[in-house]
Amino acid sequence: MNTKSYIKQLKQHLLALDTTKSNEIIKEIESYIQESNASYETLVEKFGKPNELASNYLEDMPQATPKNNSFWKSTKKVMTIVASTILAIILITSYIVYEVTKDSFDYSKYDATTITSKVNDLWINIDGITEIRTEQAEVVFYWGENEKLKYNCKGMDYSQTGSVLTIKQAHCFIILPKQTTKITSFQADVILIAPKYNVNLDFRQSNVRIAEMGNSYNYNISAKQSKVENFNSKQSDTTINATVYQSKVKHYKY
């Protein structure tokens, strides 16, 4: 046993003390050892055993950070950092998801005329379409004055069979003529901007948003296993008949 082991043991027994205080005490005992050239035995004789000396120091001293607390304090610190990191990741992910999934612009600020200027890629005109079918697609519908249906699509597949236009896995803007009276969708994201004419909707496993733009509609909504926001049905020349299954129908908000 030497003085170093005395100091080491004393340090262990002083762990309950604040680190600064404990360091001061150790430094002072080391200074005493140098001053008096004390051996381990002398230290025990003068100061008592390390545990006894430590208990003399600890008596009446504020033990703000007992070692166990110190352990919990450091654990708490680590947990706080981990929790903050997780929270930051969640926030960043949520923000990215929001940015990726949000509408590229406020569709309700445009109508059948102005949307063609906003989305100035190639618009295709087709005649004689009475029904639109959408599958796993994102489609924004406007209602125009023309006889022909007008659409602008980016994506996988859109085809015409007789009077039915089918859109799959595409992102489209469609301006509907009066004669197109049926829209069906399956696993699609559909936005209806201010319908002007009567329309029959059949939505399955789809998200549907309707922008009324101050217009009144006569709604007939039949929903099963769906979440449908409150749409006020009013006396109107325009009727929206909707059959909804496992879908969400809500008001359009950008």
Binding site: S36, K46, F47, G48, E52, N56, Y57, M61
Partner: protein, 116 residues
């Protein structure tokens, strides 16, 4: 029996040694622990290191003393020097008065013994 005596002595001496320390530092100025022990020894007050060092520490925590590390310019090692603080100087007369009152009372009590 010996343990009980030691406990009593420890309790009794704590306050007494604190008072002696304050008086010494007030009259002699800053001193380090070992110098205080040697001085007390000269004054025939035997205090061991294991009692005095924790006590100095406690008195500093109380605010009665302040300490600083005296680092020699040429050779030697740093020493922690204690001096009486302002708070210590304020409390010292009260402590002395208390001690003297108790001492007088004790003398009276001791002397009154023969009257019974």
């Amino acid at each position: 029996m010996e343990d009980e005596y030691k406990k009593w002595l420890a309790q009794y001496r704590k306050g007494y040694i604190e008072l002696c320390t304050l008086v010494t530092l007030k009259t002699k100025g800053a001193m380090h622990g070992l110098a205080l022990i040697r001085f007390f020894e000269e004054m025939e007050l035997l205090v061991n290191e294991g009692t005095l060092y924790p006590l100095l520490n406690r008195m500093e925590t109380n605010g009665w003393l302040s300490s600083s590390w005296n680092i020699p310019k040429t050779k030697g090692h740093p020493k922690r020097e204690y001096e009486i603080s302002k708070k210590g100087e304020i409390i010292l007369p009260t402590l002395l008065e208390s001690y003297e009152l108790h001492h007088k009372s004790f003398t009276k009590i001791k002397e009154s013994k023969n009257e019974y």
